[in-house]
Symmetry: C2
């Protein structure tokens, strides 16, 4: 019996079976069992392997059918041909996560196996995530099917970001990066070759998922173009959806084919589809990271007008360039606002946009710049802080947070360079103010908030 | 007497005077004296201020003329109008570094002061760096005129990179960043409003400076377009010159004007000039950072063919995209090479370009990929390493270094994500292999090595 498009049971399984469980530390199936324990999966875990009676003190079943229970999710960590055999004999499984590689991505023999797998799933009504994937990392239902140990790939805390990806390596990269940035995530799904469940079913689920505030897509190809645009368009009415399309050009397209067997299609078609569905497109890994960081804190804004405040002229110029390169509007201040600023700030400060507070800056000057600058119509503020100026103090974090809360505008901090700067950056991030370390990165984040309207 | 275009004395001064010296810790002039001590400036330092007889136990002179010595470099840290007064009365100074702001960047009154300053310099044959600048950070002659304390802005070690910049804040950012990246520098000159000495004179000096291996330019505007192209063209025949042009569009152009009084001119003209002079243009701060990092280790290459080796399919696809976006040639491997690779590696590894070693990768697989892949004609190699795969060990750094030395091709490491990855990255960097943390960053670095040929 097919469960149709409903895949919610993958995100609230009462029981999980690990097919191909192993007592050997470091083996993928062993890591998965450990990951489930560590995250505190609250359901029942069954181990399956005919070669063992017990693994680490837990009973090990000879087969899925020996388990006198319905299995919500069976995780397969076995060679491709054995996966097919077992799937063929299985009758008590609702969904399968097939971690194993060796399918379509390896050529014609693998493609045949993948077709068999697809047929079995359809015939038996077993929904499939994978093959050739990492599966699910879910802080809400506490599921972690990732086979990379936490010592190597850290796991992020709970938060509102959900991420969908064909690439398993991308899933690894992004969980580690989110953990290190302190960004919280809800559900991260890696579906690899996507024999069945793909971004459209997942979007359909995440759209009404209360735990998910923002959705990020890493796409090599699309499962079902028309349905994707339809579902995504409904989704973007409820929460922001950001996407990066990889495999844009020849080499990338070839690489994607041997990676997840994806046929990438023409990039221009994707761009048009994203636009139609209201998806915010970002460029590459850097764009995606910046989007995750900024959407972890701020909601989208209505317009694309950016106010830049800086204490370094050069970095202000770079910031203006970077913003304009992305189509953001770095409008001048009104004459009235310039006059107010000039009355309150030293004469050699520049009251344009950027407002340049120079190396003579004090904490309070930033507050004045925001107070007066935001009388004009801006949607986003980028505050650049170089920590060379001697009168700046650590109290600036509190002052800017106050200003943000008072004026209700998203403030992005940009603090290039490292050392002292990073220690100061931490103070801002601890107060929930995202800090970016290059002008380009801050500009990309601002463009995401503006929905990348050009 | 004008010294013509020779400014080499700025980089080997026998005597330095600090005009406006102060006993107050944290004051710019005090920081400069401390900076000179810390870096171990080997010449004579004179303090000048009529209000003190001694500062921190050193004699303080009432005026420059009271010093019975020729001063190679006088550093002015005083209000703009006083700078003019003193310059007018000075006869024993060869060169001046005028740190003070309050000149052209502040409007018409300041512009008048700056014109006066220019006139005095020309009449008296005093060469001027500045005003509104940081001056010189020079690890070769051990000079540091930067007025930001090291606790806030760290100073890099000695190396072969020389950097020229109008922006003082950019100078601060880049010294701190280079220090944190462990990249060595030779001479970093910030000349601010550039009343006299600018990039062309500096290029002319650095061209034959043995300590300088690579030159990096941060330009808002150019001092003398025709002469610049002429000097730069001779310079690029001797060593790589990389430039970023900021103030590209409207807001940036306006900001640059109020920053260093620069008239930016049309960006397209700069592009054409860079091309004509053989300068490698990079985009923004990120591009410049990547260029510094890669040129700290590698020489330019002849062609633009990139071999990508990866253990993550998704990041391989992203890398191919990023390379192609920058005009690099991600050519396929020859059939013969693919066959050799297939014979030596597991069947499910992808032998395209990228060569995808998958999560089953071992250290040795990377070596095989390089050994066989480099039988084909490639100019640069990007090796992506995700550290999730359990069989990878820390020995990989040694193996890749060996391969690099054996095949004599620049190998750029790309290891996105953090935590464990960063600790592994350190091993590569300690062996002189540059590591980049995003696909885009590695691709930008490769494009720089290829001279950004499209």
């Amino acid at each position: 019996m097919s469960t149709g498009t409903d895949i919610s049971f993958f995100f609230s399984p009462k029981s999980i079976a690990i097919v191909g469980a192993s007592p050997r530390r470091g083996k993928p199936s062993h890591v998965i069992v450990e990951s489930l324990k560590r995250i505190g999966y609250p359901g029942v875990t069954y181990l399956v392997n005919p070669n063992y009676e017990y693994i680490d003190g837990s009973r090990c079943y000879r087969s899925l059918s020996e388990i006198q229970d319905d299995i919500d999710v069976a995780i397969f960590v076995l060679p491709a041909s054995i996966v097919i055999e077992i799937m063929e004999r299985t009758d008590n499984v609702k969904g399968a996560i097939i971690v194993s590689a060796g399918f379509k991505e390896t050529g014609s023999a693998g493609t045949k196996l993948e077709e068999e797998l697809k047929g079995i799933g359809e015939r038996k009504g077993i929904r499939i995530i994978g093959p050739n994937c990492m599966g699910i990392y879910d802080t809400v239902s506490r599921i972690d099917t990732y086979f990379t140990p936490e010592e190597r790939v850290r796991r992020p805390k709970r938060g509102g970001l959900s991420i969908l990806t064909q690439s398993g390596s991308f899933a690894e990269m992004i969980v580690d990066e989110m953990a290190s940035e302190g960004i919280g995530v809800a559900r991260i799904v890696s579906y690899g070759n996507r024999v069945d469940v793909g971004e459209t079913d997942c979007l359909n689920f995440l759209m009404d998922d209360e735990a998910t505030k923002v959705i990020v897509l890493y796409m090599e190809s699309v499962d079902d173009g028309r349905r994707f645009v339809d579902v995504a368009a409904r989704c973007t009415k409820k929460k922001p959806v950001v996407a990066v399309k990889v495999g844009k050009r020849e080499a990338g397209v070839h690489a994607a084919r041997s990676h997840t067997g994806a046929i990438c299609g023409r990039y221009e078609i994707y761009r048009a589809a994203f636009k139609k569905a209201g998806i915010i497109e970002v460029d590459g890994y850097e764009g995606l990271k910046d989007a995750c960081k900024v959407l972890n804190t701020y909601d989208l804004v209505e317009g694309n007008r950016v106010l830049i405040v800086t204490d370094g002229g050069g970095v202000g110029v770079s910031m203006a360039d970077a913003c304009e390169d992305l189509g953001l509007d770095v409008s001048k201040l009104t004459e009235e606002t310039r006059k107010r600023l000039s009355a309150k700030l030293p004469g050699f400060f520049a009251t344009g946009n950027p407002i340049d507070l120079t190396g003579s800056v004090t904490d309070e000057d930033y507050v004045i710049a925001l107070e007066e600058g935001l009388r004009d119509a801006f949607d986003v503020v980028i505050v650049t802080i170089l920590w060379g100026p001697p009168k700046l103090t650590e109290k600036l974090a509190d002052k800017l947070k106050e200003a943000r809360d008072k004026y209700q505008k998203p403030i992005l901090i940009c603090s290039p360079s490292s050392g002292f700067t990073r220690s100061m950056a931490k103070r801002f991030e601890d107060k929930g103010m995202p800090v970016f370390f290059t002008p380009e990165s801050a500009a990309r984040a601002a463009a995401v908030l503006a929905g990348h309207r050009m």
